[in-house]
Amino acid sequence: MSLIVQDLDVSFGANTVISNLNFEMKSGDIVAIIGPSGCGKTTLLRAISGLLKPTKGTIVLNGKNIEKQPCEQREVGMLFQRPVLFPFKDVLGNVLFAYKRKKDADMDQVNAILGELGLTGKENQAIETLSGGEAQRVVLARALLTHPRLMLLDEPLSALDVDLRRKIAHEIRSVLKARGIPAIHVTHDPEEAAIIGDQVLHWKDLQSSDDSLNEHSQSNTQIMGEPSSAPPNSITEQDTNDD
């Protein structure tokens, strides 16, 4: 797996949200990006997933330009801040949304993932009855079943309390690692970033609208697969990720 984001600009009308962002990611690692609310982290993930169209720049996934590809063909998984579950289906129904046709569903795999995430027995529960943590687990199960090439985690735990957040953060890391799915995790919480990410980066270092910083950031935001080759400016209070 490789992901290269080059010279990415995203603006909404006159409002520039991301300017000249460069970012590269190799191998099956999980990268956590820390930044304050409203800085554009979500926008970056939406641009990578295809939910919005960048104003300028290229996005290369596994050696192929995808910035013109519609979202639904990009084969990425995504967790939003709030768990997005369809209210008209129960838990199992929501999980089976991973398959376009019901008959394609691999029930063994479905049951295995539900078990792994502690959801066994809740299959027929209405989604209104789930707790926030359970709901996000259901979303995660569904996303995993689509076998994404890349998982995008957009502050998925921000609505949960601290203990639960920690617990689910560990779960997320574990299921992703077990399947070797690379992921980008954005958050404003350093602790969460530290739990989930192999690498932890600061948003301000990825992008700058100031031209003078451009060259600097461009050369320094290369994220390499190997932790040992971590660039100097990637924050590395990291890395005690042994679940």
Partner: protein, 575 residues
């Protein structure tokens, strides 16, 4: 490109099906009369009955709205403030009148005031105007005051649910401590002060909204005026009666002139009332903090004697006309003596069609086919027009979206009879063969229901979290798949509500049908009831047969609502 077609076709269809006939009708009337709609409006009183119809329309609508509030507010108050044991049943009973087809309401009230009916037997004589009604008639000099009273009470009966539905929740969910706090203040010491300075400001918006809607419905009410106050003219009733002579060159120009002027005036009043209620609704949405009903009710506790009597009276009032009607279908006068017998002869006659071209089963079949057709047309068309408006809004093309939005609301400013005349004049000349087309009645019905469907679906579409669509995309669903697997299921509650409303509306629709389709073997049930009732009644089974047909219509409508309620699995607003 595909989605563009999806958005353009329904808009064009909507414009040509729903708006075009009306515009063509106006065009034709302008051509025949040589005057424009606004000029015609000033000429309404040149029609021999125009001025009287104009005056009575406003007066009866105003009085109906006042009476509705007078009856409705105490009921809403009692219902909202206390703990009631059978609140679900009481609410259902009070809502029943509002979903009753107007012709059924008319038959219900006729049955209630008939010679051997309940009211007559307790000395309230709205027929021959003896007793205190007669005294009222002679003291006020108002001819047929009994008829007018019957009409006003029927309008109040019909719209009672509006007051209860608007006002009751406000009372039921207001935190009791607000009132407690107000009582402590010097201003809150007297009951009068509490009413004027606390409750009125709290409740004025729902009360005014209910007033506006009741005024609106009474303003264009037709079946009730036709049957309960046959001596009186409203604009709607007069238009329906003389409308057939309109739009013919060199023939009864006064009628064409009147129809054009009265339609314009009605449209203006309807638009004004609708925009007023829209504005009130907006103000209403700035809510203060609310508590759950249960909490508020428990605090105040169980009702005393007066509220109990009041609610009992309200429930009986809501059900009495319908029950009387059902009874009147099996109560048959004897030929020679002033006595009655109980018998199902009228039901037999209704089902065999002895007294009419169409039998009840035939008319019911027609009604159901039209209701289903109306549902399909208005829900599909309404859905896609709402979809197009919403899509434009998402693209921030607000001007165009707003233009379409306003256009989609225009038919709301048109009454049933106006739609009927619109179809008659608009379609007849361009495509007369349509008048031999069995499906024709679906057109006026869909014209009347599609705007409601759009009004129900558009806000729901706006409210859908865009994350659902985003999630669908991330999961790899293309736009068609997202549409059927996500959007439609998310909108299901509103679609069910819209479908039930379209069907029920079509089933009970009277004004437009009365103008358009009193013909052929395709009578609908409401038209059959009217036709039976219009027959010379030398034969004693005529009235009971009409009552039997109306009873079938009533049960069919209620059944539909019960089914819809079952279907509406979760969420979504009430009817």
């Amino acid at each position: 490109m595909k989605s563009t077609v999806f958005r353009t076709v329904p808009v064009v269809l909507y414009l040509s099906m729903i708006l075009l006939p009306l515009l063509l009708a106006v065009d034709r009337l302008m051509l025949v009369t040589g005057s424009n709609p606004f000029e015609s409006m000033y000429l309404i009183d040149e029609h021999p009955f125009g001025a009287e119809a104009l005056r009575f329309t406003f007066i009866q609508a105003f009085l109906s709205a006042v009476l509705t509030l007078v009856i409705g507010i105490p009921i809403a108050w009692w219902l909202g403030r206390y703990q009631w044991r059978f609140i679900g049943i009481i609410r259902a009973a009070l809502t029943l009148p509002f979903v009753t087809p107007s012709i059924v309401a008319a038959m219900g009230f006729l049955a209630l005031i008939r010679k051997d009916g309940v009211l007559h037997s307790i000395g309230i004589d709205l027929r021959t105007e003896t007793g205190f009604i007669g005294a009222l008639s002679s003291s006020t000099g108002i001819e047929n005051s009994g008829h007018i009273i019957a009409l006003l009470v029927a309008h109040a009966w019909f719209n009672l649910a509006l007051v209860v539905r608007f006002v009751e929740p406000k009372i039921a969910t207001l935190p009791p401590r607000y009132e407690d706090a107000f009582r402590m203040l010097p201003a809150g010491e007297s009951t009068l002060n509490r009413l004027t300075q606390f409750w009125w400001p709290m409740l004025k918006i729902p009360i005014l909204s209910a007033f506006t809607f009741t005024f609106l419905f009474s303003f264009t009410s037709f079946a009730l005026v036709r049957w309960l106050a046959p001596d009186m003219w409203t604009l709607e009733a007069l238009m329906a009666t003389v409308g057939g002579s309109a739009g013919i060159p060199n023939y009864r120009l006064d009628v064409s002139q009147f129809v054009l002027g009265a339609s314009t005036l009605q449209a203006i009043v309807l638009i004004a009332a609708l925009s007023l209620s829209g504005r009130l609704q907006q103000r209403n949405s700035r809510e203060i903090e609310l508590v759950s009903e249960g909490y508020s009710r428990t605090t105040i506790g169980r009702p005393g004697l007066l509220p109990r009597i009041g609610i009992l009276f309200a429930t009986v009032f809501a059900l009495a006309p319908l029950a009387s009607m059902a009874l009147a279908s099996v109560r048959i006068r004897n030929r020679t003596t002033e006595s009655y017998r109980w018998s199902f002869e009228a039901w037999q006659s209704a089902f065999q069609g002895d007294l009419s071209y169409a039998s009840v089963p035939e008319a019911l079949t027609n009604s159901l086919v039209y209701a289903l057709g109306c549902l399909l047309i208005s829900c599909i068309l309404g859905f896609f027009v709402a979809h197009s408006i919403h899509a434009l809004e998402k693209q921030k093309r607000y001007k165009l979206a707003q233009m379409l939005d306003v256009m989609s609301m225009l038919p709301l400013a048109v009454s049933g009879v106006m739609v009927g005349i619109g179809v008659l004049l608009g379609v007849l000349k361009i495509w007369p063969a349509l008048f031999s087309f069995y499906g024709l009645p679906m057109l006026p019905h869909a014209m009347l229901t599609t705007p409601f469907v759009i009004r129900i679906l558009l806000p729901a579409m706006r409210e859908i979290d865009s994350d659902y669509d985003a999630m669908g995309m991330v999961l790899g669903y293309n736009s068609t798949q997202r549409f059927f697997k996500i959007k439609i299921p998310l909108l299901k509650p509103q679609i069910v509500v819209a479908s039930a409303l379209s069907m029920a509306f079509s089933l009970g629709e009277f004004g437009a049908s009365w103008v358009v389709l009193r013909s052929g073997a395709w009578d609908t049930l409401p038209i059959l009831v009217d036709q039976l009732m219009s027959r010379p009644k030398y034969f004693e089974l005529v009235t009971p047969t009409a009552m039997a047909a109306a009873t079938v219509l009533m049960f069919t409508t209620f059944l539909l609502f019960v089914i819809a309620e079952r279907f509406r699995a979760h969420r979504g607003g009430g009817f």
